[in-house]
């Protein structure tokens, strides 16, 4: 494609930009020489270059540079001060936290015994141990049933079955409990993580309470209850150990439970959601009774 008066501007532009080959450049210059009236335009193109003002410089380049400093470099010194302050406050807060150990059962038990007032209903469930009951210090292991609910797939049309697991290692059994969270059909995905899936029903609590005062088995039963570990000869020690075992179990179960009930009032069905810690109260009652 040759240069003409229709397209000369693009050629002049390419010449000025350096986009042309040597032959094309010679062709454009010859065209400009043949058309003096266009030569001024070519000169104007060559002057259309912006020239940077070298006097315009970014002052204080040091503010942009990075210097070797501590572990963390923050853009502004005030940021560093603020970060250090936050870390110090956090460290002090952590150090000032009261020490609490979930494994220290007896310490917790003592605290809760004095702090929590057992409800009247719970008191009625646990018979008090009188001096007559304490005559025989040979204690029987409470034989409470324990069951876990095995959830079947929803695709399976068969009804859910509660599988009774006889725990040979553990002397305690749980009754099957239908998950109230599932019954309520509400979105409890967050709560479910914190709430234990196994709930000790009130009837089980009654059974535990009713069995405890009748503890009068011989030492062989006690040995079975305590994972076949040999017991010391002193019977006082056996009693204490059993109490601790029961206390351990109830302490584990003393996590907060979520109860969801449907309450019908004036032809309206309402969901009653209750977060409580009855296991802890139960344990306190039993501990006080023993």
């Amino acid at each position: 494609m040759s240069i003409n008066k229709e397209n000369y501007e693009m050629y002049f532009f390419d010449l000025m930009e350096g986009n042309l080959s040597a032959d094309e450049e010679q062709m454009v210059r010859a065209f400009a020489a043949q058309h003096p009236e266009l030569a001024t335009e070519l000169a104007a193109y060559s002057k259309s270059v912006l020239v940077a003002d070298e006097t315009v410089v970014f002052e204080n380049k040091e503010s942009l540079k990075r210097k070797k400093s501590g572990l963390i470099y923050l853009f502004h010194p005030y940021h560093s001060v603020a970060a250090i302050g936050i870390l110090l406050i956090g460290a002090l807060w952590i150090l000032n936290q009261p020490e609490s150990s979930s494994t220290d059962l007896m310490a917790n038990t003592k605290d809760t015994t004095s702090a929590v007032q057992p409800p009247s209903t719970e008191q009625a469930l646990v018979p008090e141990i009188t001096e007559e009951n304490k005559t025989d210090e040979t204690l029987a292991v409470p034989h409470v049933t324990y069951a876990t609910t095995v959830k079947k797939s929803y695709r399976n049309s068969a009804p859910k079955r509660a599988v009774q697991k006889e725990e040979s290692a553990s002397p305690v059994k749980f009754t099957p409990v239908q998950d109230p969270i599932q019954m309520a059909k509400v979105d409890t995905s967050i709560i479910k993580k914190d709430i234990p899936q196994i709930h000790l029903e009130q009837q089980v609590e009654k059974r535990v309470a009713s069995v405890l005062p009748d503890i009068n088995a011989d030492s062989a039963q006690v040995a079975v209850a305590q994972n076949n570990q040999p017991e010391p000869a002193e019977r006082m020690g056996v009693k204490e150990t059993i109490v601790n075992k029961v206390g351990n179990l109830l302490s584990y179960l003393s996590k907060p439970t979520l109860k969801i009930e449907r309450v019908k009032e004036d032809d309206k069905t309402r969901l009653k959601i209750q977060l409580e810690n009855e296991r802890l109260k139960m344990m306190s009652t039993m501990k006080a009774g023993l």
Binding site: E9, E17, T40, K47, S48, V57, F58, K61, L64, R66
Partner: protein
């Protein structure tokens, strides 16, 4: 990119980026802020940015921040007065031809002006300009052609200069 390479980049690139931004924004304070932001972003991304690509990264970041600033300025007409004041300041200091070119460039649309300054100030190729601005190469060439044709006509109308 190491700390030393970053600091070397500050020495070699900050002036060019600052001039590019001042020319297009006509506001030195805003240009300074954008330069600081661009270097800050590059420091944050120093593990990903190679030293030989640092200049391109800075201009790309600076261009994007400048576009944001253009959009912001469009909402406030009061900023135009400050820009005009800066332009008069610059023209008074330059000789005649350069002053005419600068004045002609002020009339360009922002995208054309940005492409022209990248080409003339920094000597970027069409491909590099396309990468920085996000345009394709054909658009870059068209913007450059329109910008130079506009300046050529502006200069040609003042015969006394030529």
């Amino acid at each position: 990119m190491t700390e030393k390479e970053f600091n070397n980049c500050v020495d070699s690139c900050s002036d060019g980026l600052y001039r590019f931004l001042v020319k297009n924004l006509k506001d030195r304070d805003t240009a300074k802020n954008i330069v600081q932001s661009a270097f800050e972003k590059m420091w944050m991304k120093r593990t990903e940015v190679q030293s030989e690509r640092a200049r391109s990264y800075l201009f790309t970041t600076g261009y994007r921040l400048m576009v944001d600033e253009w959009r912001y300025q469009q909402r406030f007409s009061g900023l135009d007065a400050a820009a005009d004041h800066y332009a008069e300041e610059v023209y008074a200091e330059r000789n005649d031809v350069k002053r005419l070119v600068d004045r002609a460039a002020e009339a360009l649309v922002p995208e054309q002006k940005a492409v022209l300054t990248l080409r003339d100030f920094e000597g970027y190729t069409y491909e590099e300009i396309a990468e920085i601005t996000g345009l394709n190469m054909a658009q870059v060439k068209v913007y450059l052609f329109r910008a130079r044709t506009h300046i050529k006509k502006f200069i040609g109308s003042r015969e006394e200069v030529l």
